[in-house]
């Protein structure tokens, strides 16, 4: 099932959308936390899946991200959007998971006896992504697969805008180098 979700949204829209339940969620009310979870679980899971490449790892990372988010919600001051804040937690979790254990992608399971060129290319990209550093992997996934703007990436990774651009540039270079070595 190919799920594409609309990533770009303004902070004002998020504030309008979330102000009704965010206060209740900060107070730890179960119904508001459930609303929070239902709103963002698909996005967080997609991000984790694209970062980690395995459904089980993505599920673990999603769960841990929400556990941390539920615990930190009372301290969330709203300086960034809820989604950006949650993405930050999820990215940190996925990156630490990549660092702590060698995560192997099971996206290659779809390979058949005679894979199509498009599939071969996709598998090569996913394989190469496992070779780049976790930080570079995160910035590439956020930019190209999650469709975040530079400003949003800077906010999620808690770095400046020029640093986000430079990190993406370096990540692209590293990816390109690994990709060409693999071919």
């Amino acid at each position: 099932m190919d799920q594409v979700f609309a990533v770009p949204c303004t902070r004002r829209w998020e504030e309008r959308e979330t102000e009704s339940w965010l206060a209740a969620a900060r107070g730890g009310e179960a119904w508001a936390l459930e609303r929070f979870f239902n709103l963002y679980q698909a996005q967080v899971y997609s991000l984790c899946y694209r970062m980690l490449g395995r459904a089980e790892d993505a599920q673990d990372a999603t769960q841990t991200a929400f556990i941390k988010a539920f615990r930190s919600l009372p301290r969330f001051r709203g300086e960034s959007g809820v989604r950006t804040w949650l993405y930050r937690i999820a990215v940190n979790e996925a990156v630490s998971l990549v660092r702590s254990r060698r995560v192997t992608s099971d996206l290659t399971d779809e390979s058949g006896p005679a894979p199509e060129p498009a599939l071969v290319e996709r598998l090569a990209v996913e394989q190469t992504l496992t070779q780049v550093t976790p930080d570079h992997r995160a910035v590439l996934v956020l930019r190209f697969w999650e469709g975040l703007s530079y400003e949003e990436i800077a906010c999620v990774l808690q770095i400046s805008l020029p640093a986000a651009k430079m990190r993406l540039h370096r990540a692209r270079d590293e990816f390109r180098r690994c990709y060409e070595e693999n071919r």
Partner: protein, 288 residues
């Protein structure tokens, strides 16, 4: 473009579309002359196109998986105080007032009666609060087995036997000693566990677990959850007590559908237990 080429940042900015119009035109002129910058720009565009083509599709979690994940996250985070009854800080004042009222009434009762209050693991109970919660439906048919195991948070283990009383299918909570001799009274502050059958009593498909706890300290919420254990045929349930501090979540009871074989009761024991329980229930009805 080499490391020394001054247009490196300009090429990146041009690629991002963030270059001012004048600088954009200057760079386009430069690109006509500089093969390296042109090839670098082509590489950037190619890499971006490659990622766009290879965006992996994601099979999202099924609704029941997502629900399970939420429950687990809620349980492990310690959040989820249900609070429609208590808004903001008001519940803290109410909880403090309730504690004071319970303490005052307890002291008054001791002075007037001269007797010691009932002792429980949580302390003397004069005016305990009781909460009852019903868990989600079990889709585990083997829960209709006649024995469930109950483990209390203080480490005492007990056996709840399934019997059919006048009020339907029930689990009565009772405790065993090490010599497997049944003790016909529940632990002092043990939760009461009851299985609510879904439809016909004979096949308790999708039953729900109802748990009641009685505590001296006020409880804000009681959440009953269950999860499928790794071994087929087993189901485990947990009841969480949430106190007004909102921080202390206590695993009150764990229920599983099976016992080690050594603890299984014989059919004669089961018949005896059932008759004992029915007698006990009748005595309780008479008292009421």
């Amino acid at each position: 473009m080499t490391r020394g080429c001054r247009s490196q940042r300009a090429v990146l900015a041009y690629h991002d579309g963030s270059l001012p119009v004048a600088a954009q035109k200057r760079l386009e002129l430069h690109l006509r002359k500089c093969a390296r910058c042109t090839s670098e720009l082509a590489r950037l565009e190619e890499t971006d196109a490659l990622f766009s083509r290879c965006r992996p599709s994601v099979s999202l979690l099924a609704p029941d998986q997502a629900q399970e994940l939420f429950r687990e996250a809620l349980l492990r985070s310690g959040a989820g105080v249900q609070p429609t009854r208590f808004g903001g800080w008001r519940w803290r004042w109410q909880a403090a007032a309730l504690v004071l009222a319970v303490a005052a009434s307890g002291a008054l009762a001791i002075r007037m009666s001269g007797r010691n209050p009932v002792e429980t693991a949580a302390g003397p109970v004069e005016n305990p609060s009781t909460l009852t919660a019903v868990g989600p439906k079990f889709d585990e048919p083997t829960l209709s087995a006649h024995v469930v195991q109950v483990k209390h948070r203080h480490g005492s283990a007990g056996v709840a036997r399934h019997y059919r009383g006048r009020r339907g299918l029930r689990f009565a909570h009772r405790f065993t000693t090490r010599s497997r001799r049944l003790v016909h009274r529940p632990a002092k502050d043990a939760p009461t566990v009851e299985l609510l059958p879904s439809t016909p009593l004979d096949d308790a498909l999708e039953p729900q677990l109802m748990v009641s706890v009685t505590r001296l300290q006020p409880l804000v919420n009681l959440i009953v959850t269950h999860s499928q254990a790794e071994v087929p045929g087993f189901a485990r349930a947990e009841a969480l007590e949430i106190t007004p501090t909102g921080k202390q979540i206590v695993t009150a009871v764990t229920v599983s559908t099976c016992l080690p074989e050594s603890q299984e009761a014989t059919p004669e024991q089961q018949d005896q237990d059932q008759s004992d329980l029915e007698d006990q229930e009748e005595r309780g009805d008479e008292q009421h």
